[in-house]
């Protein structure tokens, strides 16, 4: 009987313990002051001297950098290596999908214990971090080559993911290739399309594009209804590419061109370009961006990474087959595509609404509300 009582007491005690740990004193970040001073020390100098100063400060920080990124490992590893080689700064990389990068950064920021110095991820998450005030401003010479449309408050586009349909060349003969987004609604693709479950940014951009180019809301809704009517739903762009390569599905309504290119390079029978090599399908290029954490432990290294990724690092991205945010000679990634502007503001403001609408569209629940 004695155990019984004690067990009960112990339960009560643990609740108290949990509460204490959960709500106990949170110490605000102590490093924000030093980080700020490093950032301002660098930006106070003329642009030409900033990098040297940053390198000097980075040495004092111990020549290390913590990077949070959603770049895939096959990109992140060579990028980190190239940066390490250039500056002799050790990079430790936290890789996760973009949502997780945001989650982790938010958790750490809210607790005042930042773990990352620089972040590189999708624009939605970059915008969210910027909005929440997690990021410090960069004003170095790296910005010069970036198109103004790629410069955002507190962060800058470092590369683009380009939206295009992709198809299996064994299953779709040149005569059956889609030549416009509207083609995807054609009855000949009935049961042949695959759409991704979370591509609401594509849905938003294409809807706005159509509306801006003379279609009525009703026409747009009808197109979407037909496209989804032709489609199966799948999850994950890389998984979809795997199935596309294997011939499990003939066409993907939208995949990122770099994923398609990479599979094609391996020999898979897939492409996003028609037989004549030029796609007239409007290509939306979604920016991925880089930012520096406001209260970073290694602010100078973060600054260096930001600076480097927009300059020397761009070549590295091109070598990896990605689409850089600046003009780099030898960049073939946009060859044959017709770029159109990507609607950043709409998605930043109404992203959640479009998520819901897209979800409802896929599930067939009161489409296009």
């Amino acid at each position: 009987m004695r155990t019984t009582r004690n067990a009960a007491l112990a339960v009560s005690a643990l609740v108290a313990a949990a509460l204490v740990t959960a709500c106990g004193g949170s110490s605000p970040g102590a490093s924000s002051g030093t980080a700020n001073s490093a950032y301002s020390q660098i930006s106070a100098l003329p642009k030409a001297q900033q990098r040297a100063k940053a390198q000097e400060l980075a040495k004092k920080e111990g020549n290390t950098l913590s990077l949070y990124t959603s770049m895939t490992a096959d990109v992140a590893t060579p990028v980190a290596k190239a940066f390490e080689k250039k500056f002799d700064i050790h990079v430790s990389v936290f890789r996760a999908n973009s949502e997780t990068v945001l989650q982790r950064t938010s958790q750490e920021e809210q607790a005042g214990r930042p773990g990352g110095d620089a972040v590189e991820t999708d624009f939605v998450e970059m915008a969210a971090m910027a909005q929440n005030g997690f990021l410090a401003d960069y004003a170095g010479s790296g910005l010069d080559k970036v198109d103004p449309s790629g410069r955002f408050t507190h962060w800058t586009a470092s590369r683009f993911n380009v939206f295009q349909p992709a198809w299996n060349t064994n299953l779709i003969k040149p005569a059956d290739e889609p030549h416009s987004w509207e083609d995807l609604a054609s009855p000949k693709y009935k049961g042949k399309l695959t759409v991704e479950i979370s591509d609401s940014d594509w849905y938003e951009n294409l809807t706005k594009y159509w509306l801006d180019h003379g279609k009525t809301q009703a026409q747009v809704d009808a197109l979407w209804k037909a496209i989804i009517g032709n489609s199966k739903v799948s999850k994950g762009h890389t998984t979809m590419m795997q199935f596309l390569s294997a011939g499990q599905s003939p066409i993907e309504a939208m995949n990122y061109t770099y994923i398609t290119d990479r599979a094609e390079k391996k020999g898979a029978p897939v492409t996003h370009l028609p037989a004549d090599g030029v796609s007239k399908i409007p290509a939306f290029a979604r920016p991925n961006g880089v930012g520096m954490i406001k209260d970073a432990k290694h602010p100078a290294a973060a600054w260096l990474f930001y600076d480097w990724l927009l300059t020397d690092g761009q070549q590295e991205l091109v070598d990896l087959g990605l689409t850089p945010s600046t003009k780099i000679p030898g960049d073939q990634s946009l060859k044959g595509t017709t770029l159109v502007p990507f609607d950043v503001t709409g998605l930043t403001k109404e992203g959640a609404d479009w998520d819901k609408k897209y979800d409802q569209l896929l599930r067939g629940a009161s489409a296009g509300k």
Binding site: T3, T4, R5, A7, A8, L9, A10, V11, S12, A13, L14, V15, A16, A17, A18, L19, V20, T21, A22, C23, G24, G25, S26, S66, T72, A73, D74, T77, S92, V93, F94, R95, A96, E99, T100, L102, Q107, A111, A128, I197, V233, S234, K235, G236, H237, T238, T239, Q242, S245, A246, G247, Q248, I259, R262, K266, G267, A268, A352, R363, A365
Partner: protein, 597 residues
């Protein structure tokens, strides 16, 4: 014990409004001292400590979940529920889909697992060696890979079963993996090892004379099975069914890969939707999790109700017995064929697809062209993956650590639940079950929330992953332990106590050895599944502290299914080796235990 309870020194935090039992803060000082003295025996420290740790592990994410769900809007409200279930969410039909899918998978897994366990433990079936692999391999292969293998096997157009078997032989492609039945099939096969491990332990621990006496009463084999054997292992079956049911409800790998293509949306696709949107509606996510929690709690109550009469089902009595296998006689070749068939389906086919894929540059239906491109490059790539060895080492440390800690904790806690009349023991049982419904990401958020604010060096180390794994697998450990404990007759403990053994001696030398087959089964299960845990790991791991599941995820994100397949094959090999060593060691302990009888 590797995990110390959380620091108890108050640091001026305000108590949060909480759902748990009220703290006993009002104890007077005199009473407290007396209590303290009483508490300071080894038994109470150990038992109390375990209860505290288990309660703590379960309450942290639960508290976080409840807080977000009911209080995220500033005050207490049910808004999150209307956001989650109202409007166009179609949550009703998704719930029904989920229940049907979970029920079907659990039923299939229970049927397969129990049948195999019976054949393995109680008959002289041939090919017993295959069971070992059949019980492990589906557990080891990450869900994503297992489901993908089945897509390549059962797709209506490119599935190998259709193109290589059915089309040439029957001129039709009858198999369509993208159906509810396909989902149940894949999930059921993937879960069957859970039932198998639980049931093997249960059958092992059962006194065979209970069956023999039925045979002597004139009952045939079928009657014995139906009227004696199965009712006797019912507690373990109910445990297993509950576990697998809730796990299927909560999983999204199979519904995500197979269900979406077919338009079968399940409940977890809601959670997935909510968790990947920005800003995350934590309230809605929590409301979904609480919905699952309600179902799981109903399941726990139902299973307690179903087991109400089995309080006295202890089949492990003090009498020594040598389990004698049932001679199958003429049915032996049939059983052998069934074993081989099962082995083919669950192990050979998916592994063959993985091996085949691992030799290719990209997955393609077998053809002369595809075969020409075969090489070992993917294996080379796996070996050269930076961090591969760090990740393996970390995964091993975490797997072994989590398995050991969870099984020891749950052994003690299931003792408290089943053997004492402690008030709140039911609650404790249910509490230990709750982590199963908490989405991995929410668990990760809860843990990072707590440990980012703790001065202990836990965040950013392997320890936080250990805590996360211990929390996630607590429900499994609890089911394995309590199924084993329920079978042990309390007289055995009483007799040890009467012979002068202290509680600890009794526990260590009588209870633990008697529940050893259940203990080992749970241990193996946790070890293996912790190798694939990703959803909380991905948020909590730190650079340099990578684990294998993170590497797998990376390969998956890279789109390197073929490399991933190679990694999967390596994992299967490593874990099969590891577990066979564990069984060897276990068998050695088991043998010692037997000889002292």
């Amino acid at each position: 014990m590797a995990i110390a309870p959380a620091p108890t020194a108050p640091r001026g935090g305000e108590p949060m409004p909480d759902d748990g039992p009220a703290g006993d803060g009002a104890a007077t000082p005199g009473r407290a001292v007396r209590l303290l003295r009483r508490l300071l025996t080894f038994q109470t420290l150990l038992v109390g400590g375990s209860v505290v740790v288990v309660g703590y592990l379960a309450l942290v994410p639960l508290g976080y979940l409840f807080h977000d769900t009911f209080l995220s809007g500033g005050g207490f409200s049910f808004d999150a529920f209307s956001r989650a279930y109202g409007g166009d969410s179609q949550s009703g039909s998704m719930m029904l889909n989920s229940l049907w899918f979970a029920f079907g998978s659990a039923a299939l897994a229970l049927l397969l697992g129990t049948a195999l366990a019976y054949v393995q433990v109680r008959t002289d079936t041939p090919f017993k060696g295959l069971f070992f692999a059949a019980s492990l391999v589906p557990l080891i292969i990450p869900g994503i890979l297992y489901a993908t293998s089945w897509i390549f096997l059962g797709d209506p157009t490119i599935g190998l079963l259709n193109t290589l078997v059915f089309k040439p032989l029957f001129g039709a492609s009858p198999i369509n993996i993208f159906s509810v039945w396909g989902m149940i099939w894949v999930q059921g096969l993937h879960l069957a090892p859970v039932a198998f491990l639980l049931m093997v332990a249960a059958f092992r621990a059962m006194d065979p004379s209970l069956e023999e006496s039925a045979a002597m009463s004139g009952a045939g084999r079928g009657t014995i099975l139906w009227r004696i054997t199965l009712p006797l292992v019912r507690p373990a079956m109910i445990s297993g069914a509950l576990l697998m049911f809730v796990q299927s409800l909560e999983s999204f790998e199979v519904p995500g890969l197979l269900g979406l293509q077919n338009g079968t949306y399940v409940f977890t696709s809601r959670i997935y939707f909510v968790l990947r949107a920005y800003p995350i509606d934590y309230g809605a996510a929590g409301a979904y999790a609480i919905g699952l929690l309600a179902i799981a709690a109903a399941g726990v109550l139902l299973s307690a109700w179903l087991q109400r009469s089995s309080r006295n089902f202890q089949t492990v009595t003090g009498k020594a017995f040598r389990p004698r296998p049932v001679e199958l006689g003429r049915a032996r070749p049939l059983a052998g064929a069934a074993v081989i068939g099962y082995f083919l389906l669950t192990v050979v086919l998916p592994i063959a697809v993985l091996i085949y894929a691992s030799l290719l540059k990209y997955y393609a239906v077998p053809s002369r062209k595809a075969i020409k491109t075969m090489s070992l490059n993917n294996y080379r790539e796996v070996l050269h993956t930076p961090l591969a060895f760090t990740a393996l080492k970390n995964s091993l440390v975490l797997g072994v650590g989590a398995a050991t800690v969870v099984m020891l904790l749950t052994a003690i806690v299931s003792w408290v639940v089943l053997r004492t009349k402690a008030p709140g023991r039911r609650l404790l049982d249910m509490l230990a079950f709750t982590p199963i419904v908490i989405p991995g990401l929410v668990l990760g958020l809860a843990l990072s929330f707590v440990y980012l604010r703790s001065s202990l060096p836990i965040y950013g180390t392997l320890l936080i992953l250990l805590i996360s794994y211990c929390t996630r697998y607590l429900p499994y450990g609890m089911r394995y332990s309590s199924a084993a404990m329920a079978q042990i007759s309390p007289e055995l403990e009483e007799s040890a106590a009467v012979s002068g053994a202290s509680w600890f001696q009794t526990f260590r030398r009588v209870v633990l050895p008697l529940m050893s087959s259940g203990f080992l089964a749970g241990w193996v299960y946790i070890l293996v599944v912790s190798f694939r845990e990703l959803s909380s790991t991905i948020l909590l791991y730190s650079p340099g502290k990578e684990v294998l599941s993170v590497l797998i995820w990376e390969q998956f994100e890279n789109g390197q299914f073929t490399t991933l397949a190679a990694l999967g094959v390596c994992m299967v090999v490593i874990l099969v080796l590891l577990v066979s060593v564990a069984y060897r060691l276990g068998a050695r302990f088991g043998l010692q235990g037997d000889s002292t009888n």
